[in-house]
Structure formats: C-alpha cells, structure tokens
C-alpha cells in the first residue's frame, strides 16, 4: 500500500505551518496554554498517521471504479477526549453522582471539490461519521477503529456526492453560488491537554445536597434539581490539509432549577446557573445558598402574582435579560449559514452596511475574551471545531451590520471562516456564537433609566412600563433542532407604575410581535453590562456560550398572556412542610389495613 508520511505536505503548507507555530508561541500566555508543543501523544500520532494512510488510499486502490470511488479532497479526524463528573440532588438528597470518560472521533470526509462537494445543501451532515475510540493509548486498536469508521463514512460520502451532483444538474441556479468549503491555511497548535478533574467528590455531594434541601423552606416549590457538572475535555484535530490542533476545554457548571404551579394551573419555573473554569472557581456556598433562597422566594411570589394582560408599551430589560435577548434574537440570525439555503429566513442577508440597531449600539463576538470583569466567560475558546483560530468579530459597529459569524461554509460576499465554526461531538460545525458582547455609547445610571421608562410610559399614555428582570436562558428552551432556539420566555416581569405605586410582579408574560423591531426601538442602556453564561443548542448541537449586555430601555415591546397548563397544583402538601407534618401526624401510627376498612 502507498504510505506517505504526514509531513509530506506541499511546500506552501509547510511555510504557513511554521508561521502559525510561531504565532502560537507569542500568544501563549495563560498557564493552561503555556505548554511545550509536544507531539508524543499516541492518540494524536495515530490519528495523524491513520488519516494520512486513508487520505492517500481511498480512491486510489487498484481496481477501484474511477467513476464511483473518487478520492476525497479533504479529510479530518477530530477526537473529543472528555472526562466528566456529574452530581445531582433533588428534594434535598443525592439522586446520582457519577463520573465518565469517553473518547469520540468525528471523521469528516469531503468528496468532489470545495466548489461542490458531498455536504452541499441538505446533505451537510453526510460528511461526518462518529466512532467511539479506545480510552487507552493502544495504537493498534485506535487505528483499527478509525479505519472501520472511515471506511463506512467514505461509502456514505460517495453516495451523497453522487446525489448532490445529480441534484445540481436538475435544479435551477441557486441564489447563492458560494463554494461548499472555504480555503484556509493549515493550523498547527499543540496546546497542553486538559488536566485531570480535581474535585472533592464527597464535599461537593454534601454541598449540592444542602443546596437542594434549601427548597424545603419553600413548600410551594414542587420540584427542584441542583446539578454540578464538571467537564475537562481535550479536543484533538488533524486534517489532510496539515492541521494539527490540540485544545483543552475545562468548565464547571452549577445549575439550580425549581418549578411551581399557580392555582390556575400555570407552570412557573426559574433556573440559575453558575459557571467557572473549575469547581473551585464557583461562588462560595454562602453565595449559592443566597441565590437558591432567592429562587425559592421568587417562585413563591410568582405563583401569587397577578396574571398579565396584553400590553404594548415601553420596557426595560435587565442586563442579564438583555444578554439572553441579544443572543437569541440577534446572535442566531447573524450565523453565516442562515444567509444561505432555501430553508433559512435570511433576515439579515441583504443588510450588510445598513443600520440594524440604533447607532449607539455595537455588537461583537469575541471567543478570545476569557473574562468580563471578574466573570469567567463560558463561550471562550482558542480554536474552533474546524481547527480555525478564534477571532474577535465586530458584527455590528455603531448600529451598522458589518459581517456574520463564519464557519468554513462560505456565503455570498464572505468566503472565509472567522473562527466561529462550532459543533457538538457528532455534528458538522456551523457558524455559532462564542461570547456575544453588546456595547453602548448612550449609557445612563439605573435610576435615570427607570426615570426615562416612567417618562416614556407617561408620554405613551400608559399606566405603567414593564421591567424584565429575568428571561429564560437557552438552557431551558433550546431543544436540539428546535425553532424554539430563537424564542425567549420572560420569567420575572414587574409593572413599574407611573403614579409612584410600588412595582408589581406579574406572571404569564409572553413577548409577541417581531423581537427585531423591538430592538430598533432601544432608546438607551444602563452603564454596567451583565454576563449571561449558558449553553446554546442549534443544528450543530449544544455549545457553551456567553452573552454580555447592558440593561436596555425600549420604547415599544408587545406582550400577551402566555398559554398555560390546566393541571391543578398538587392535592396534598409536600412532605416535610409544616402543614404536612401537622396533617399526617395522627395517621402515622395506624395500620394500612385498618385504615382501609375505616373508609
């Protein structure tokens, strides 16, 4: 069999490669990345040699049918080597505590040419085939697993390429004739793999259990779950273009979710998440306890709050709410691939150079930013899932749309990746957000912003304006592949009365109308942006993201009452509540059978 070493790259590629290696050293500042770029890992070397062997063997076998067994023009192996610890508690007790380790390889094979390949149109997923890899550095077993999955993936890629070609011949010319894959220089960046997870399991189990038990003080919280999830992952990528990238991703996340139901059947939930690089970086137990108490208290208040009535008028979104709003409503629509394809809304496709936001607002996505103030940003990464270096991208400058979030899928007018090709394991990367950062040049203090809200309401002849303190994170609503990904559900909304009455909490608010037009009605912002860390789901799967925004005052937002459930709240009080213990005390002695007869 013809066997070529992976170093047998064209001269140009080699030159670029050393240039990138040099750049990497300059940029390596954080302790995690101050690694010696060593290439001794069995996993990486086996991936490299096996990829090279496959790339030069496929389509070049003696006796292969030249019309069907076409050689790939691009291949990559990316392996996610992930260690996880998950601890979960409900109702004040542990329900699971487990660790896991998995290595999954995504094999990408492209056949045809960058102009037209097997990923075209609706065939995008056909380039990726996944396989579970050995957890140990057993070269022979890793190579054999990669071979088996590559062979299967190649068959599928060929099949799809032939269908793409046929479809291209029978169909009218496409609106966007961009190629299917961008040309990018190879990247070599060998960072130090993620360290092993260091966690005092027993201590954290105790902490999570205690946090969940706080909800016992809020007997109307019918369900709660507190989860600690720590993940240390190293991603390895090698490609036939000569890229070799090793990137560590470490994160710790604590999620508290609580649910209640109003007497009229409306389900109400609140969730709060905390993120840090490691579990040690999470807030102290005392801070977490306060946050949980606030969640419990807020749900008890919410279930007694009056139901909203349809409203059309001014509103303030808190920084946290505005961050989610910008991520869901604006950020997703700026993903490159949404500007291409028959099934996309293409909201902003023709708006480059036009004003899409008030001129005092600018929006960038900057995955290279690790912290905003003191807050660690969940959407941080150094290289994207196509091995491209992460870049800060100025999407909107002074209200004017400049560009999109680009993966290696080109669109009309934008032929290159800008380091935003992201995907969950098993999916093909698409343009996604990392850290979306909204900045403003028209800032006011919170007090002034509130004053302006009241003035605007008066001007519009409304008895009150709305204050959105919390709207649901992507965490709760983004089902995979669901259009819900763009939806925002207000969770905590207050009426701010013009006549000086105290603010009033309302429930059941749902935003209607086009949220985008609401954005154009932003009048001012406050002066201290807030961070929302979360996980975002879309076609290419779930990826960690952050959004940062100041509170915003809008002249016009349209809301109505959200559809609600009809089920009654639980009939008996929750165990452990003062009411319950009183009601059941006389019964605990009597026997089951005795009681049945007594009925």
């Amino acid at each position: 069999m013809p066997y070529k070493s992976c170093f047998a790259l064209p001269a140009l590629a080699l030159r670029l490669l050393s240039l990138f290696a040099a750049l990497l050293i300059v940029l390596s500042t954080s302790p995690l990345r101050a690694a010696e770029p060593k290439d001794s890992s069995v996993l990486l070397s086996t991936m490299t040699s096996e990829l090279d062997r496959a790339f030069h063997a496929l389509g070049h076998q003696p006796g292969a049918d030249p019309t069907r067994q076409l050689p790939p023009y691009f291949m990559s192996y990316s392996v996610a080597d992930a260690h996880q610890v998950n601890i979960r508690a409900e109702y004040g007790a542990l329900i699971s505590s487990a660790d896991s380790h998995a290595r999954i390889a995504d094999i990408q094979i492209r056949i045809g040419s960058p102009q037209l390949d097997n990923t075209h149109g609706t065939h995008r997923a056909s380039a990726v085939n996944s396989v579970v890899l050995p957890l140990t550095d057993d070269k022979e077993a890793i190579a054999r697993s990669l071979w088996y999955a590559t062979d299967a993936g190649y068959g599928n890629a060929i099949d799809n390429y032939l269908r793409v070609k046929t479809e291209a011949e029978v169909r009218a010319k496409e609106e966007d004739t961009s190629p299917d894959f961008s040309k990018e220089p190879p990247v070599v960046a060998l960072q130090k793999p993620a360290p092993a997870i260091v966690l005092d399991r027993a201590a954290w189990e105790k902490r999570i259990r205690q946090l969940s038990a706080i909800f016992r003080e809020y007997p109307d919280v019918y369900q709660n779950i507190v989860i600690l999830s720590v993940q240390n992952e190293t991603d390895y990528l090698v490609s036939s273009e000569g890229s070799r990238v090793v990137t560590p991703h470490v994160s710790a996340r604590l999620v508290a979710l609580a649910v209640t139901r109003a007497d009229d059947g409306m389900d109400l939930f609140r969730a709060q998440t905390f993120e840090a690089e490691t579990a040690d970086g999470l807030p102290s137990q005392a801070e977490l306890e306060t946050a949980i108490h606030n969640l419990g208290k807020s749900l008890e208040d919410l279930r007694k709050a009056p139901v909203t009535v349809p409203f059309n008028g001014p509103a303030i979104l808190s920084g946290r709410a505005a961050a989610v709003f910008f991520h869901e409503v604006l950020g997703h629509r700026l993903e490159g691939q949404r500007q291409r394809g028959d099934e996309e809304g293409q909201t902003f496709t023709k708006d480059i150079g036009k004003e899409v936001l008030p001129s005092f607002l600018s929006v960038a996505d900057d995955p290279t930013l690790e912290r905003y103030g003191k807050t660690w940003l969940n959407g941080t990464y150094t290289y994207d899932d196509e091995g491209q270096k992460a870049q800060r991208v100025q999407l909107i400058q002074d209200g004017i749309l400049k560009t999109f979030l680009m993966s290696r899928l080109p669109i009309k007018g934008f032929s290159d990746s800008n380091g935003h090709g992201r995907a969950q394991t098993g999916r093909i990367p698409t343009g996604r957000q990392g850290n979306l950062i909204v900045t403003s040049t028209k800032t006011e203090s919170d007090a002034e912003l509130r004053k302006q809200l009241i003035e605007e309401a008066k001007k519009q002849g409304k008895p009150y304006g709305l204050y959105f303190e919390d709207i649901s994170s992507g965490f709760a609503v983004t089902q995979r592949n669901s259009p819900q990904a763009f939806q925002v559900i207000p969770l905590v909304v207050y009426r701010v009365y013009v006549d000086g009455r105290p603010d009033e909490l309302v429930r059941g608010v749902s935003i209607v109308g086009t949220p985008l037009s609401a954005m154009k009605s932003i009048l001012a912002t406050d002066d201290h942006p807030e961070v929302f860390n979360g996980e975002c789901g879309a076609e290419s799967g779930t990826v960690p993201v952050s959004a940062v925004a100041p509170a915003i005052l809008l002249s016009n937002i349209e809301t109505q009452r959200q559809p609600q459930g009809t089920a009654r709240p639980p009939i008996l009080p929750i165990p452990g509540s003062p009411v319950t213990d009183k009601a059941e005390a006389p019964n605990s002695e009597s026997s089951l059978l005795g009681k049945k007869e007594a009925k």
């Binding site: 069999m1 096996e50 496959a54 063997a57 496929l58 389509g59 076998q61 292969a64 067994q69 409900e90 109702y91 004040g92 007790a93 542990l94 329900i95 699971s96 505590s97 487990a98 896991s100 380790h101 998995a102 290595r103 579970v132 890899l133 050995p134 957890l135 140990t136 057993d138 022979e140 077993a141 890793i142 190579a143 054999r144 697993s145 071979w147 088996y148 190649y154 068959g155 259990r209 016992r216 019918y222 089920a567 009654r568 639980p570 009939i571 008996l572 929750i574 165990p575 452990g576 319950t580 009601a583 059941e584 019964n587 009597s590 026997s591 089951l592 059978l593 009681k595 049945k596 009925k599």
Partner: protein
C-alpha cells in the same frame, strides 16, 4: 376447566412455606426506605382525594435501587466504562374497584428518580410528586374506561385486578461488589484475541469488528401496597459477551457472537473457557468466509441442536404462554398465538412444560430467571403449562383473564417498567428423549431415505437466523454453509412437525431487563424451510485495515 382450578389450588399450597418466617410491618419500618414508603402510602390512602372524585382504592410504590457496571472494549482496548447507581420509584394508583378500574390505558403509573440517601423527606417527596400525577392520570383513565365500556356490547371477560393475599417478606438488601479493574482487563483482552492469539494471525486482516462487553447489575427492590404487602427483595445478573464480524468475498456480512450469563459471578464461564470460545468464533469467520452460500430454498428435515432448539422454544412457545388482557369488547381470553389454545395440543404428546421460578440451578448450572416474589409482590409459583402436549395453564400476574382470576406470581417488570406476565424458569422436557448420537443417526437415516441432503443447525444468531448451519449428505458428510434463514419454524411446526426430541437439556440464560432461563431439548423436525437470507451485501472495505 376443573383441572386448571385444581392445579391452581395445588400451586397455592406449594407456595405456603415461602411465607412461613413471617416478618412484620414493625420489622419493615426499621428500613428507612420502607418506613418512608409506608408513611407516604398511608398519607395518600387517607388524604388523597380531589373534591368530587373517588379516592384511590389501590396504591403501590416500587422503588428499585439499580447498581450497574458495564465495561466495553473493541479491538483489544477498553472503549467505555460505566458505573451507574440510581433509584427509581414507580408509583401506581388505581381508581374504581377490583372489577372495573382505571388500569389499562396509558399512565396508571408515574416514575420518579429518587434519593440514594436514607433521607425520609426526599424519598417521600418523590413518591408524593408521582402519586399526585398518577392519581390525576388515573381519574382521567377511569373516566375514559367508563366511556369505552359504554361503546361495547360484550362485557370484559374478567376483573381488572386480582385479589391477592398480602405478603411481608424482607430479604437483606444487596450491593454490587466486583473487581472492576480485572473485568475491564478481561473484556479488553477478549476483544483483542483476533490479534493476540497465535492461531488467528492469518485471518486477522479480515476481522472487521471484534468487541467484548461485561455487564453486571444488582437490584434491590422495595415494594409496598395499600393491601398490606411489604417486600424487600434483590436480584443480580451478570453477563460477559463477545461479538465479531467479517465479510465474505461476495460482501455477505458474517457475524458470530455469544454470551455467558448467570445470577452470580461464579456462574459465568472462566476466563480460559470464555476466551477459548471466542477464539473458536473468530476462527469460524475464516471457515464461514470460505463456506458456500446455502441453496436457494429447501423444505425437509432439520435437526436443531439443544442450543438452537431452546432459543426456538423460547420465542415460539414462551411468547404464547403469557396471559394478557385482550382488547375491550372482544370475547378473547388473552392475546398472542395461544389466545384460543387452552386444552388443545401445542406440542407433541410426550412434551411437558413447567415454569418454576423457584428452580435456582439445573444440572449444576445457576439459573438467571429464578426469583421468589414477583414485581407485584406475589410469591412465585411453579406453573405446569403444558401436559402431554396440551396447553393447560398460562403464566399470569395480577391482570386476570377469563377463568384465571388469580396471579400465579409471574407479574414481572423490567427496570422502571410496568409488570406484565412473563416467564421465569421455563423448562421443556420430552418423555421419550433421545441421545444426540441417536438424533444424528435419525437425521442421517432421513437423508438416506429421501435420497437428499438434510440440515443441522448448531447455533442461532436470532430467532430464525442460523449462525452455524451444516448441510448433511446421505453419505454422512457435513458441510458448513452460510447466508441462510429459517422459515416456517412456527407454532404449527412445533405442534405437528417434531419427529424426536433430545434427552439432554440445554440451559439458556437470557440476560436482560427481565432475566429469564429456558431449558429445552434438541429437536428433530420433519419439515422446515431453509432459504437464502438475501440481505444487502455491502461493499467490501474500500481500503485495507492498518497492520
């Protein structure tokens, strides 16, 4: 009819000794899980009622503590290690009465993950949440049931729920204890035999998959119901499995696999025995690659080894002897192939079948399907199902069918699943069993008689898919063939086409959600169809494997 009633009475007396060492509710309440379950059960039975609606007449809580371990390996290296420990509560609420209740539709039960800690409030909270949901769903189902009953002329053929005597039985809880590292290593080694065993070197490049798995599960179940039943019981099952595959030159997929399963670690094959078996299977890939494809279609005598025959009996007969409630408005007794077969012949006259979950070993082999109390809290009973070839009884849980108003302790449930009637240890015997040598001789005699080749099935891969199938010529020559599928191996064939059966019985331990053991003899059948499977032959690998 009289006969089956007499049998039932007999079964009941057989079971009595099981309940002899009677534990009490006070004993049960020393267990924090049972104490929490009983407290919440009492509270729900006395107070749970939606104004204007009925109270529940029956509530049952079943909590399963499932301790799982699994190690997977491929091509000689570990690919996954999974240790999971969870407790799942299944809450069942019935509204109405034993004759007509809310059961049968979807959602008469609710599931909740629950506390691993001995925390009474957390345990009760999960039960409380599930009880509330299940009760509301039961009210809804009960209304639907009442409406559905008005739509049919024929009334239900049996009550909705059987009356059973409450049982209190407290087995000590169990935990999973094993040397994980040694099993991880064992599984990895087995999956690498294709490249480490010297005898397999030549065929190594053709091996496309070679995988091993070890699974262990220990379950402690706590069950209480409003009739007074309180049960704590345990179950364990272990399995080491192996699978390998290749393609023949014509693209045909060739697969071999086997498993060693049992209720204890000691009952599994030793590492040497297991690996020897694995080596034989890998070696057989080469033999099978070179074997001719089976003839296009064949009708005639087939000898099923005891291994293959037991799988066949399990799927063809085992699936028919379980009782389940027929659709509303019909006169059917039960569902399935034997719905109308009571007192008719389903096997030759010399056949007997008994399901006896109390049988823990057979011929020194531990039985994975044995249990003492079922998942509805009813003590397991031995059930004589087939006598002189005739079906005389069904395996039944607490869902009665016509003429069978009681459970015989066969209401079994998968983890988190609802109980349904299911076999435990199902044993088939033929009074006139022959030795393997005699059966082979008889098969050969048939070949000679008819002047044509006949077939011998050594092992099956699925209900009708032979993995090792031999063509036996009248001159006694045996030739391995590939690419076959069996046909017409159904209830009719087992009723009227069996010429002879074996004397030695095979034990099949089926590891799974509901572990079962089936014990049966080899079968010589007069008329079975064998034909080409004609499955899609995928392309051979586009490039060679690494070396």
């Amino acid at each position: 009819m009289k006969r089956s009633i007499a049998l039932l009475a007999l079964c009941t007396t057989l079971v009595a000794p099981l309940c002899a060492a009677q534990a009490t509710r006070a004993d049960a309440e020393k267990d924090p899980v049972l104490a929490a379950m009983l407290t919440e059960l009492d509270r729900s039975m006395s107070h749970l009622q939606l104004t204007g609606f009925q109270k529940p007449y029956f509530i049952q809580y079943r909590i399963e503590d499932v301790d799982n371990f699994q190690a997977d390996a491929s091509f000689g290296a570990t690919t996954g290690i999974d240790r999971a420990h969870q407790r799942i509560a299944r809450i069942t609420v019935r509204v109405g009465d034993y004759k007509t209740d809310s059961s049968g539709g979807r959602g008469d039960s609710a599931l909740e993950l629950t506390s691993l800690d001995a925390d009474p409030i957390a345990l009760r909270s999960a039960l409380w949440a599930g009880t509330d949901r299940a009760y509301k769903a039961a009210l809804d189902s009960y209304a639907q049931k009442q409406a559905a009953l008005k739509q049919v002329q024929t009334p239900p053929q049996a009550d909705d729920f059987s009356h059973e005597k409450p049982v209190i039985s407290l087995a000590p809880p169990a935990t999973l204890q094993l040397d994980e590292q040694s099993w991880i290593a064992r599984v990895a080694k087995s999956s690498g035999l294709y490249r480490t065993d010297p005898s397999l070197r030549a065929g190594e490049p053709d091996v496309q998959t070679c995988a091993g798995t070890f699974s262990a599960r220990v379950t402690t179940t706590w069950l209480v119901n409003s009739e007074g039943t309180i049960v704590r019981k345990t179950a364990s099952e272990y399995q080491q499995a192996f699978a390998t595959s290749t393609q023949a030159a014509d693209g045909m997929k060739i697969e071999r696999s086997f498993a060693s399963s049992g209720p204890t670690l000691a009952s599994l094959d030793s590492e040497d025995k297991f690996n020897k078996h694995a080596v034989e299977e890998i070696a057989s890939l080469t033999t099978l690659r070179n074997a001719p494809v089976v003839e296009e279609e064949y009708h005639g005598p087939v000898l099923l080894s005891a291994d293959a025959a037991t799988d066949t009996l399990a799927s063809v007969i085992g699936s028919g002897v379980t009782a389940s409630r027929p659709p509303l408005g019909t006169e059917a007794r039960t569902t399935g192939p034997f719905a109308s077969s009571l007192h008719t012949r389903v096997l030759p006259e010399d056949f007997t079948a008994v399901d006896d979950p109390g049988l823990t070993t057979y011929n020194g082999q531990a039985l994975i399907g044995a249990y003492s109390i079922d998942d509805e809290g009813v003590p397991a009973q031995p059930v004589q199902l087939i006598t002189e070839g005739k079906l005389v009884n069904y395996l039944i849980g607490r869902d009665p069918i016509r003429d069978f108003p009681q459970s015989n302790g066969h209401g079994r449930a998968g983890i988190t699943g609802p109980p349904h009637s299911s076999a435990g240890v199902l044993k088939f015997t033929a009074s006139d069993g022959k030795t393997d040598a005699d059966l082979n001789q008889q098969l050969l005699a048939l070949a000679k008689d008819r002047g044509q080749s006949v077939y011998y099935v050594e092992t099956l891969g699925g209900p009708l898919v032979p993995r090792l199938l031999y063509k036996v010529s009248p001159d006694g020559k045996r030739e391995l063939v590939r690419g076959a599928v069996l046909d017409d191996l159904d209830q009719r064939a087992l009723r009227s086409s069996i010429l002879a059966a074996g004397k030695d019985l095979w034990v099949a331990n089926y590891f799974g959600d509901i572990p079962q053991s089936v014990i049966g003899p080899a079968l010589l059948l007069d008329d079975v169809t064998i034909k080409r499977a004609n499955e899609k032959n995928d392309k051979l690998p586009f490039y060679p494997p690494p070396n």
